[in-house]
């Protein structure tokens, strides 16, 4: 399907499409920077590519075959059409110091994504409305993800950034006066919500300009939890990156493990054993349930309904203690999957432990919906608060429950099934208004659907067989072989010390994360370490819309919205 799209593009643009490529099922086209706006506008207008998922920067200065390429940087725009279900990577290449036209006017999700590329690679985007650093501190020198930026070089920076300037406050005050024909001049007040605030559930910062309690202007700042995941990944072997993925969305770590593995396996063209596939589905759905439980209960706490927290948290703890911890030895930092399969097999009583907790989950869902679903205060606080239309949501790059709350039934598990999701029978719940209530209710219903998938998987019985592919390229040999044969020892030694040799190339592996599409764009140079790993965290584009979503609302609404869009600072800042 996507191949046809590339053909049509060739027919439309002819020579202006410089290169086309197809690797591991990902279609890509290369265009000259000057042609990018035309091609993107055509793709959005004619080919229904409504969603710009991510913008990836790659520094090719150390990539074999490109060392002397004057076009040092590659910027990859990851486009997706939901209605026609095709996807395309549009690449532009730029030498050092050359601008690339910005797509921020076409896709609002490009705003932050391009800022990130600028921040980490120094590629400037022409026409970008607000090209500032985003993940690194505003006084940071150099660009951290360039290959010539030494990984050891730390910079000690602490000066806070003022997001709303004095003259802007003055101007906003005048606007407010004019709009209401005020007798007395307005006095507006800036307040920092975060980085350390009870409602931010992590280190986020929003500086808001308040008129009374009404938010006139909101600016967000992220990066407080930036710990250079992507730079670190380039310094470790493919397998060593796994524990770092736990720390991205630490609420549903196993989902990160699974999707990261899927991306690397895509590069390796590896097939994983059926048992591992089914277990991955089960743990993914368990993680999704946990993710939604935490999001909804924290959201309800923000709304003042504290008791629901325990009703849901008890279930989460049950799942952790009864299932996740026996499975991999820890609760949050699971490090469960391996490239080519799983790290550990399921324990005895796995099925009954899950079933027991799913029953608890259903009870808890019943209790919580009983408390809030028809509660007048809850409805007053959430209905119409932070409402998004489907168009707006797509424009901002929403995926997952926040997109489905607007009424678009887009789910990666249905649109691009992986791990055998096509064989399971489940529904994609959608909302109608895209407001806070719908986001909460979609999440609650998704937990029911996840439970349904898990029951189907368990009902069929786990397939027998190994949990790890028997492939010496990437899978560690069993201990008998390591201790019993010289090939085993060598294989083990090579894999541990040098890492799995992943064939050169690039692949975008993605799956449905707890909060939307989670993707890993991986580039390999054929060595044992990733050349580039780019995470596509679902909450990054969602949080970019936060400032716009809360404008004109009140502080309590902002808190309710922030809870409902489920920002996990770990994956937001990486």
């Amino acid at each position: 399907m996507s191949q046809k799209l590339v053909d049509r593009l060739r027919a439309e643009f002819g020579e202006r499409i410089l290169e086309t490529g197809s690797q591991h099922g990902d279609e890509s086209v290369v265009v000259a920077p000057a042609d990018l706006p035309d091609v993107a506008a055509h793709l959005k207008g004619r080919e229904a590519c409504e969603l710009l998922l991510d913008v990836v920067g790659v520094d090719r200065s150390e990539l074999p075959g490109h060392r002397d390429d004057p076009e040092r940087f590659e910027v990859v725009y990851n486009l997706r059409s939901l209605s026609r279900n095709h996807r395309l990577l549009v690449k532009v290449r730029a030498p050092e110091g050359r601008d690339v036209p910005s797509l921020a006017g076409l896709y609002r999700s490009a705003d932050w994504a391009e800022r990130e590329v600028y921040d980490l690679y120094g590629v400037r985007f022409r026409g970008h409305p607000d090209l500032r650093r985003i993940l690194c501190h505003h006084e940071f020198e150099g660009h951290a993800l360039r290959k010539d930026y030494p990984i050891e070089r730390g910079q000690f920076l602490s000066a806070p950034e003022k997001l709303i300037q004095d003259h802007e406050i003055e101007r906003a005050a005048h606007r407010a006066d004019d709009s209401r024909g005020a007798v007395l001049p307005s006095d507006l007040l800036t307040v920092n919500i975060g980085p350390s605030h009870p409602a931010t559930h992590g280190a986020l910062r929003a500086e808001v300009l308040l008129d009374g309690e009404t938010i006139v202007e909101a600016r967000t700042e992220i990066g407080y939890l930036h710990r250079c995941f992507e730079k670190e990944a380039e310094d470790h072997t493919w397998a060593q990156v796994m524990p770092y993925t736990d720390r991205l969305n630490y609420v549903s770590a196993m989902l990160n493990n699974c999707v990261y593995c899927a991306a690397v396996e895509k590069l390796l063209d590896a097939e994983i054993p059926p048992r591992a596939r089914v277990v991955r589905v089960i743990v993914s759905e368990l993680s999704r349930i946990i993710d939604h439980l935490v999001c909804v209960c924290a959201n309800l706490v923000d709304l003042g309904a504290l008791t629901n927290y325990w009703y849901f948290y008890n279930v989460r703890e049950g799942l952790y203690y009864d299932v996740i911890e026996p499975l991999c030895g820890s609760r949050l930092t699971t490090n469960f999957t391996r490239i080519g399969g799983l790290g550990y097999d399921v324990f005895e009583g796995f099925e009954t432990a899950i079933e027991r907790n799913l029953v608890k989950l259903e009870t808890a869902i019943g209790e919580v919906t009983g408390l809030v679903a028809r509660n007048r205060i809850f409805l007053d606080r959430t209905v119409g608060v932070g409402a998004m239309t489907p168009e707006q949501a797509l424009d901002w790059g929403f995926t997952g429950p926040c997109l489905r709350a607007t009424g678009l039934a887009y789910d990666v598990r249905k649109h691009a099934p992986y791990d055998g999701y096509e064989t399971y029978d489940f529904d994609v719940p959608v909302g109608t208004a895209g407001d806070t209530r719908d986001r909460i209710m979609v999440r609650i219903e998704e937990m029911r659907q996840s439970a349904r998938i898990i029951r189907q998987a368990l009902g069929r019985g786990l397939p027998a067989g190994p949990i790890l592919a028997d492939d010496p390229r990437f899978a560690l040999p069993p201990k008998e072989k390591v201790y019993g044969s010289i090939e085993g020892v060598m294989n083990q030694f090579k894999l541990i010390m040098e890492g799995a040799r992943v064939p050169a190339g690039e692949a975008y592996g993605f799956g449905e994360g707890g909060n939307g599409e989670l993707g890993f764009y991986c580039v390999s140079d054929g060595g044992g370490r990733p050349y580039r790993v780019k995470v596509r965290p679902p909450c990054f584009p969602i949080f970019s819309a936060f400032g716009e979503m809360v404008k004109g609302l009140m502080i309590p609404d902002a808190v309710a919205i922030l809870g409902s869009i489920n920002i996990i600072a770990g994956e937001l800042d990486r």
């Binding site: 007040l189 307040v191 605030h197 009870p198 409602a199 309690e213 309800l300 706490v301 923000d302 709304l303 003042g304 309904a305 504290l306 008791t307 927290y309 325990w310 009703y311 008890n314 408390l371 809030v372 509660n375 205060i377 809850f378 007053d380 606080r381 009140m554 502080i555 309590p556 609404d557 808190v559």
Partner: protein
């Protein structure tokens, strides 16, 4: 206070002048009230945690004091006494230090007019009910003081919310009591309780449908008046960090805390006296009046706790909407309706 004055008169005979008796009796009663207030606050912090635990399928405090953590509040008190007393550098120091006491004193003064049992009332004022509303309004000043003096925007927001809420909800609170005053023809708390003699059917909240509604209005407004969930907007932890007492630590914070629980009990006591028959038992003759009174008030407190742990919180504009557009008109209707009812049933004098 009569009880105490009599007691002193008996002990000292003619050795004390009448005013000396008055002062001595008053001081003793004030001391007793302060102790009652402090201890009820202490008991209620424990009760709140157990109630919350019970509702939230957990235990609450279990360790200190062997049985269900009964000594937990004592341990907390000791801990809080040992806390550093922090005054922010840029705070308005005199006001910052004064604010907790203003709130505490405002609450303490109101206790004087609560009739716990026949004769056991610190100040048997003719204007008892009016007096309670009057002095508890001083707490608003304390909230404003704390919010301003902290020099913290969140505190200021909490204070502004708290003051607006207190000033607004005082109106339905007082209006809801007016039908009772009309029926008894007195603002004296003792008289109001005595008028409800003769079993539960004589209690004011069952007097007529309007009074029943008035009781509900009073109950809701009283929750808002003491800033508790679902009306805990001045100190919403998820929005305003901790509202007007964000910057307070140690004993100063404890004063806010004590005042909150004391007020919680206070409004329940007023509801008991005004609507639920005070020390009058369900039926039969007066029996252990003090205990009956306290049981009724504690049940109301538990009800308030139950609500707090069940309902989400309102938004600030919704809070005002409920007060001005729903409760005040409804309370006015109750006043009018109760008047008409009295005329119709021939109770009007």
């Amino acid at each position: 206070m009569q009880v105490m004055t009599d007691l002193f008169a008996r002990i000292f005979g003619d050795g004390l002048s009448s005013l000396g008796l008055l002062v001595a009796g008053g001081l003793t009663m004030a001391l007793i009230m302060a102790l009652v207030m402090a201890s009820c606050a202490i008991v209620f912090t424990w009760a709140e945690r157990k109630v919350a635990g019970f509702i939230q399928s957990r235990y609450g405090p279990m360790r200190v004091g062997r049985w269900h953590g009964v000594l937990q509040p004592v341990a907390d008190m000791v801990k809080i006494l040992g806390k550093e007393d922090i005054v922010p550098r840029d705070a308005d120091k005199p006001l910052f230090m004064l604010a907790p006491f203003v709130i505490f004193v405002g609450s303490l003064m109101a206790w004087a007019a609560i009739p716990f049992a026949p004769g056991f009332i610190a100040a048997d004022l003719d204007l008892g009910l009016f007096y309670i509303f009057a002095v508890s309004s001083a707490a608003t000043i304390g909230i404003l003081m704390a919010g301003w003096a902290s020099n913290n925007k969140w505190s200021l927001y909490g204070a502004a919310r708290g003051a607006a809420q207190a000033v607004s909800y005082e109106i339905p609170l007082a209006l809801a009591c007016i039908p009772v005053v009309m029926i008894t023809g007195s603002l004296n708390m003792n008289d109001i309780v005595i008028a409800q003699q003769g079993g539960i059917w004589r209690w004011h909240f069952l007097h007529d449908p309007f009074l029943f509604v008035a009781f509900l209005l009073y109950f809701v407004a009283s929750i808002a008046e003491v800033n508790r969930g679902p009306f805990d907007l001045p100190e919403t932890e998820s929005e305003l960090v901790a509202g007007y007492h964000t910057e307070y630590t140690g004993m100063r914070f404890a004063f806010f805390f004590l005042a909150e629980y004391a007020n919680l009990f206070l409004v329940s006591c007023v509801a008991t006296a005004v609507f639920l028959g005070g020390w009058q038992p369900l039926f039969g003759p007066v029996f252990l009046p003090g205990l009956v009174f306290v049981i009724k008030a504690v049940l109301l407190v538990l009800l308030q706790m139950w609500l707090r742990w069940t309902l989400p919180r309102l938004r600030v504009d919704q809070l005002m909407h409920v007060c001005w557009k729903v409760m005040v008109p409804l309370a006015l209707v109750c006043v009018l309706g109760a008047g008409i009812w009295m005329l119709a049933t021939g109770q009007a004098g």
